[in-house]
């Protein structure tokens, strides 16, 4: 089983993006950071007790599924859209949605465009290797307008072309657009169009066939979401772990019940997650949130209680 392999190895092999602002990138010391990376760290903390016992495997759109299918990685946390065919035909198991995204458009303000429907004849930069080009083709086809697609491998190059005016529009997931815009010299000169042309639930995934492992990844993620909902943060987790009068908190942190044992882990698995990476909100704020240059609002990714879609099943 995967868990045993991971434990035997002492390291978690986690597939991440080769470089996407805010989601995954190595810093000057070679330490990976980002929103997707945090999930890897959470799982590592839960299973191995060490959030840095991870082997990061940078993957392109092309290589990610093979890497997972072949067992080269234990889990893939690389802004991957959950679709029917990937889940069913490619034989993977998406364990949740850590980021609700949708494909959007960014244009320079000076262009004076206010709707994607006005883009007839425009040159559109697309980041390839994902579902974007399919959505785009469908969108323009359905609306019967013409366009010129410019496929580009990486966000950095797309950004370069867009800024130089080699394309009028840049389309990718809205989060990516916002993140990219944030690093412009003059972010205010660019607008995101209101149309979101697709649903892009991005989430971590594992191979079919090892449900125990899928459960671990799924509940590691849910623990982070629930922790935010329940107000557990990396700052107060120690204190809460000594016992609260909220039984769910107690169950998550292992002071009550034996959830950890059911997962094949120890009782403190979730406590370690919160301690080392923080709850969902903390991770978001640290990597994508408004305090960062990227400055994304929570939007759909707010807790259900705040009008978002984040909704963790109960720990019970």
């Amino acid at each position: 089983a995967t868990l045993d392999d991971v434990k035997a190895r002492g390291k978690l092999n986690c597939g991440v993006n080769t470089g996407l602002v805010g989601f995954a990138a190595p810093d000057a010391n070679g330490v990976w950071g980002g929103f997707d990376v945090a999930l890897c760290r959470a799982v590592a903390a839960a299973t191995l007790g060490d959030a840095s016992a991870i082997e990061f495997v940078p993957l392109t759109g092309k290589t990610r599924f093979t890497a997972l299918a072949s067992g080269e990685i234990d889990m893939l946390s690389r802004n991957t859209t959950w679709t029917f065919s990937r889940d069913v035909d490619l034989k993977f198991e998406f364990v949740g949605v850590n980021y609700y995204d949708g494909q959007g458009f960014m244009v320079p303000k000076a262009l004076g465009v206010s709707s994607a429907k006005d883009l007839d004849g425009a040159t559109v930069c697309i980041q390839t290797g994902t579902t974007t080009e399919l959505n785009l083709a469908d969108f323009f086809r359905v609306n019967n307008i013409s366009y010129e697609p410019v496929p580009i491998e990486t966000n950095a190059e797309a950004q370069q072309q867009y800024l130089a005016g080699a394309c009028d529009v840049y389309t990718t997931d809205a989060s990516g657009l916002a993140a990219t815009r944030a690093t412009f010299e003059a972010p205010g000169d660019h607008v995101l169009l209101p149309e979101i042309i697709s649903k892009e639930p991005l989430g971590p995934l594992v191979r079919h066939g090892d449900s125990e492992w899928a459960d671990i990844v799924r509940w590691s993620f849910n623990a982070m979401v629930s922790a935010e909902e329940l107000g557990i943060t990396s700052a107060n987790v120690e204190e809460m772990a000594s016992g609260t009068n909220n039984p769910e908190i107690n169950r998550i942190l292992g002071t009550e019940g034996n959830l950890g044992e059911m997962l094949g882990l120890d009782a403190e698995w979730a406590k370690r997650i919160i301690l080392s990476v923080g709850n969902y909100g903390e991770v978001f704020e640290k990597n994508l949130g408004e305090a960062t240059p990227i400055g994304l609002a929570r939007g759909l990714n707010a807790q259900w209680t705040d009008g978002g879609l984040l909704y963790s099943p109960p720990f019970r």
Binding site: K62, E133, A137, D138, R141, E148, V150, E153, E157, A166
Partner: protein, 418 residues
């Protein structure tokens, strides 16, 4: 005398398989073949087993399904509802397009640079040396992204042509726009067009084009006749009539007449909406890839050309000079015929390299066969095995055809020599 009057009758012994030179080679070959087949069988059985486990038996059915993605650069009609097969074919044509364009430019550049490197002008030959060393010693992939970045960063966007006081203007009397999205050139249009013919219902070729090509071929044929006549006159009288204007005329005139008959006019690109519309659009991805491959390969070709010319020893030129031949004649009658034999074989292998290197098109988003079949199609369908194997097959066929040409040429040259 210890003559063996009667050699012992040889009967087959097992050890002869190893110690008899006749059987030994059979044994070795048999072992090699067996080993090879075992390895292949092992690989195939692994593959089948793995595919079984994944539930993805080999199946090319996906080729007939709609590709659902768009391709900007296409030589035949294509839209996102067409099949993956057609998308791959579009990619293949794009590969061939950039390969042919690249080989042509690389040859021209390579020859010019190679000759300039041999120039007596120190400055010129030094600059060419720098060029050659610079391009040969940096990976081609870097050159491709470099050229793309140069195009994007230094050329004006279409926007710059807009407004009261545009910061950029079109070239050649407003007929050509050079932008960082590519170059928009006037396109040939025909007011009395002849329509298209369809081949196998798969793609169309316009009759105008066919007519023009036929006219050109006829023109060149006639020009060849004129040259042959000039050769004969020279043989007979020693004087060679000046024929270049006649030869030019028979090529140009029929072509021009057909153009006029068809109502030829140029369609100029004009800034409409977001982009220039009309005209021929050469995309920046194509230009960057084309230039990078050509510049890179030209550095190698230049070296071949230089070596070829140097290989024709100084003595040959001196002997020709001593006979009173003029420099241009020395080049065409003595040096080139000899140098070409040295130059062409490595030239063709450079063509091969260029074609293979064109597979790096994905780095700039040029949709060649690696970008379609080996890129988006593979990605969307998850049929890695089928796609990659097919991709390799396509390149193999291209390479082998080029090698065939090379072998044919080598054989021909050999025949002439002795």
């Amino acid at each position: 005398m210890t003559t063996l009057s009667d050699a012992p009758k040889e009967s087959f012994r097992l050890s002869m398989l190893i110690y008899d030179s006749r059987y030994r080679s059979l044994t070795i070959q048999f072992v090699a073949l067996l080993g090879f087949m075992l390895v292949v069988a092992w690989l195939v059985s692994n593959t089948l087993q793995n595919l079984e486990a994944l539930g993805k038996p080999i199946d090319f059915g996906f080729f007939s399904e709609p590709a659902s993605y768009d391709i900007n650069q296409r030589l035949i009609d294509y839209n996102s509802r067409d099949s993956h097969l057609r998308a791959s074919f579009v990619g293949l044509l794009n590969t061939l397009l950039v390969a042919v364009m690249g080989c042509a430019l690389a040859t021209v550049m390579g020859v010019v640079i190679g000759v300039m490197r041999l120039s007596k002008n120190w400055m010129l030959s030094r600059i060419m040396t720098v060029y050659v060393e610079l391009f040969r010693n940096v990976p081609v992939l870097l050159w491709i992204v470099f050229f793309m970045a140069i195009l994007i960063e230094t050329l004006p966007p279409p926007n710059a042509f807009r407004g009261e006081t545009p910061s950029a203007s079109m070239w050649l009397w407003d007929s050509m726009a050079v932008t960082n999205r590519g170059i928009y050139m006037p396109e040939p249009l025909f007011s009395r067009g002849l329509g298209d013919v369809s081949f196998f219902g798969a793609f169309n070729i316009s009759l105008e084009l066919i007519a023009l090509v036929v006219a050109l071929i006829a023109g060149f044929w006639a020009s060849g006749r004129i040259k042959a006549r000039a050769d004969r006159i020279q043989e007979a009288t020693g004087d060679r009539p000046t024929t270049w204007y006649l030869r030019l005329a028979v090529v140009v005139l029929p072509f021009a007449v057909i153009l006029i008959l068809l109502g030829f006019h140029l369609g100029y690109p004009a800034l409409k909406g977001f982009n220039f519309q009309g005209g021929i659009h050469m995309r920046n991805s194509l230009i960057a890839l084309w230039l990078a491959l050509s510049f890179y390969t030209a550095a190698f070709i230049a070296e071949n050309v230089r070596a070829g010319i140097l290989a024709v020893s100084g003595g040959q030129t001196e002997a020709a000079e001593a006979l009173g031949l003029r420099p241009n004649r020395i080049m065409s009658l003595v040096v080139l015929p000899q140098a070409l034999r040295v130059i062409i074989p490595p030239l063709i292998s450079q063509y091969l390299n260029l074609t293979k290197n064109s597979s790096l098109a994905i780095a700039v988003g040029y949709m060649d066969i690696t970008g379609t079949l080996g890129g988006i199609t593979m990605n969307q369908t998850g049929r890695e095995l089928e796609c990659v194997l097919l991709l390799m097959l396509v390149y193999l066929i291209i390479s082998l055809s080029i090698s065939l040409v090379m072998n044919w040429y080598n054989k021909r040259v050999k025949l002439v020599e002795r």
